[in-house]
Symmetry: C2
Amino acid sequence: MAVPVPPSLPSSIDLSHHLTTVARSRHPSPLKDIIQYMSQPGMISLAGGLPHPSLFPFTALQASAYPSSTVLDTTSPTVPSKSVTLNVPLHTDESSPYSLSSLLQYSAPAGHRALLAFTKELTERLCNPAYSDYTTLLNNGSTDGWNKVCTLLLEPNDYILVEEQIYPSAQASFIPFGCKSVVIGVDGQGAKADLLEQALRGWDESKGRRPHVMYIVPVGQNPLGSTMRAARRKAIYDVCVKYDVVIVEDDPYCMLQFGEYRLGRPTAPAAQTIDVDTFVNLMEKSFLSIDYQGRVIRLDTFSKTISPGARLGWFACNSMFAERLLRGTEVQTQHPSGFSQWGISGYLEWATNLKEQYRVRRDWMMDALAASFDLVPAETAGVNGALGLVAFAKGGAGSAKPLMSFVPPTAGMFLWCDVYYSSTKPFQRLAASSVSQGADSAADADPEGEFEREFWNTLVAANVLVTPGWYYRPWMGDEYKTVKSRGGRPGVGHFRLAFSLEGKTEIEEGVRRLAEVMHREWARE
Amino acid sequence: MAVPVPPSLPSSIDLSHHLTTVARSRHPSPLKDIIQYMSQPGMISLAGGLPHPSLFPFTALQASAYPSSTVLDTTSPTVPSKSVTLNVPLHTDESSPYSLSSLLQYSAPAGHRALLAFTKELTERLCNPAYSDYTTLLNNGSTDGWNKVCTLLLEPNDYILVEEQIYPSAQASFIPFGCKSVVIGVDGQGAKADLLEQALRGWDESKGRRPHVMYIVPVGQNPLGSTMRAARRKAIYDVCVKYDVVIVEDDPYCMLQFGEYRLGRPTAPAAQTIDVDTFVNLMEKSFLSIDYQGRVIRLDTFSKTISPGARLGWFACNSMFAERLLRGTEVQTQHPSGFSQWGISGYLEWATNLKEQYRVRRDWMMDALAASFDLVPAETAGVNGALGLVAFAKGGAGSAKPLMSFVPPTAGMFLWCDVYYSSTKPFQRLAASSVSQGADSAADADPEGEFEREFWNTLVAANVLVTPGWYYRPWMGDEYKTVKSRGGRPGVGHFRLAFSLEGKTEIEEGVRRLAEVMHREWARE
């Protein structure tokens, strides 16, 4: 699987000026120095403070798992009857590159050798980096990975470039340090390069230093569901080169790329054959594939493919950043659980199979929406700013009352809806009354926010739960609390629908309830 | 096992002024709010972004382990023939409170319910806190735990109270933030209360704010090997109350308390019966047992008893600190690996058994030292400042040339040696020459440091590896690089011997080599 790196690839450039004072100030532990002496022939070491392996209570570990070639039965998600057994023997033998005695012991902060090598191979094959000296390093999943990157790059009170909506836990890592978001507007592919350039070019240095880090979820963005294609990535990357910005590519959904939804065509059941090469060829490629300078830090994870509970992920980045992240790892987490670090085989087969499951789930949701709403392509719907498909009440296609619009996701777990509050009479009254209250209170008024809370409560009363748009609003500071102050679209709200967890029946019924509430609310006088 | 809390115990006092700005600024994720709605009867949730459990590849997990009542064979640490099998079924059943489907999924940051309850019970039984509103919270082992406590309590450039020697990774967590150590002198029990009081009373505010955090490893201190008894703990605690200091009790070796070494008496083999109550009764009790204000944060871990690779530990502290640590956990690590969080049964039986193994290993090392040196109790050896036992060359007991002294540890994995460089001619010449170079260079001269490096290299050349004293020197700032500037004992160096990892034969041979080098070096003219 290892592909030799062509000798023509450039090395990464020096980006050490992006490091925080804390990241620069980390020193290797003196305990690491001594390890070289331990392997000196004839040496007796009274130095290492490790427990003798005979003092661990475990003798063997075994897991049963589906064979990676299993085609899961989407319609009835029961346990397949076939399973394979993975053995971790106490000591390494021909059946396993992992030994229990090494998984139980303190281990290298970078990760167990076999797994670390696997992440490097996977990065090489799937991301095909455009420079030579990249490396990988394990972490405890992307929450941990992103937190470590924040310590690596963000000084207190820094500004950071983010997309129009952000996963709340991602910003919860940096908000307590006084960091604020600079929001880059999006379309159906995520952040737009021209808006990024505009934000950086016009940066007002009196606010603080120009942002030097951009956080992007390029595939199946949470909550936007958007996936960025190659040309957009290149345009974003070029702006980041011009303004010396480090790109943090958080890509948990990269293995869940399942392709387009075609309105009006019957949806197919999960494929019965597994074609890894086709899957890999059709994937949108990592920012690493265009990164000739080494300014991308990629966060990858096994959470969506194997198990979130394993808390296991990895960084792929230039070796300078990786070395500083390793120094951080030594004192932040030491290393991921040894119990999580074993038994990766047939990973790509499994993922190829798995993404079909998510494709079918996406189709369940889209089909349910098509059944409960009139869906019209945005190009013909005549709704200003709409992308993808516009939803009208049944029989109301093309009317002056669009309910919502969305871009059917090609990856991930989520569908993001722009909801047209401005088509409702109650919202129109709310907006008018806040304007009539005069200039001062009008500046504080947030009719979109107010209506969104009411509407969400109405959905809860109808027994359908969605996540409301305000969960994902980037923190820009106290003075940006209203749609108006943020420069958002007037009269538009948002919610996120997840198709990862519920079954087909529940998704259909949930969407039916959603449609019922919207039809009723949008018909109110 | 749960002991009801007597109603007379006080509540913790308000210690929120100890929190850092970052710790105060953390907010709960909005995603947590929505969980209550998910359990509303009839609700269909399109909100939760979790993978459907049928999309995880595992179906069962199984481990083989020694029965907790196994008496390990110290002399020949092979795998006992008996083992028990622990099953984690896909769904909870009567055989296990842990289900694989919940361990594989995202889970509560505080930890899986059954394990969290177990840590609370264990804290209640072993630590018997002196206030009512304490709680426990899982973490990814004590490295992670301590790092989280640093974020909770230490502002950049704070001073922190530490013992005379410190585990390097512990200080590597705070040094990059500009924090410096205030070193409290020790005796055979660790930090001395009168020296702590002196450091706090005489604090010079012009250096920075008075230290408000003390980091203590009270049992089997690494590297000192010291264990603090009840009266000392009380005296330290009272000083911390007086000066409003939070005590962080890092106690990884608490289950490895194995009792005194008696010089000249034959050492016993590992006990063949397991008496948990006696073990628990003889343990030195946690600072929590005297903590009537809630100012102790205790770090506990499964690393030394079950497996360091599991990266699993827990905090025990007041509920205000715990809530802030939980907010940190959400963005720092999310939760420990689910693969680590299962199968705790017979823990105290296993630990009672295990500590005997460490007792026997301590005895191996002490017996080897007694065979290679003349050991004389410090009270009669006439060596200024010596504690415990003083080692002379064979046949040289009571001479003017002590080689080293040490307090035989009653817990943990380590023996700390004070080494009398001043008894050697080469050191005496080195010290004299640095004095004769005049006042300026004398201030920079560090003959102890210089000699320690040379001596350590001589040991390496003789194929015996110890960790040198300088590894464990607390960082006080650039101006404290010499023994003299730190107020250390002139002419005394240190090394640490570990008895946790090597076998009996290797320990004996290692000590023999050590003695041979010391005899030769101390005889040099």
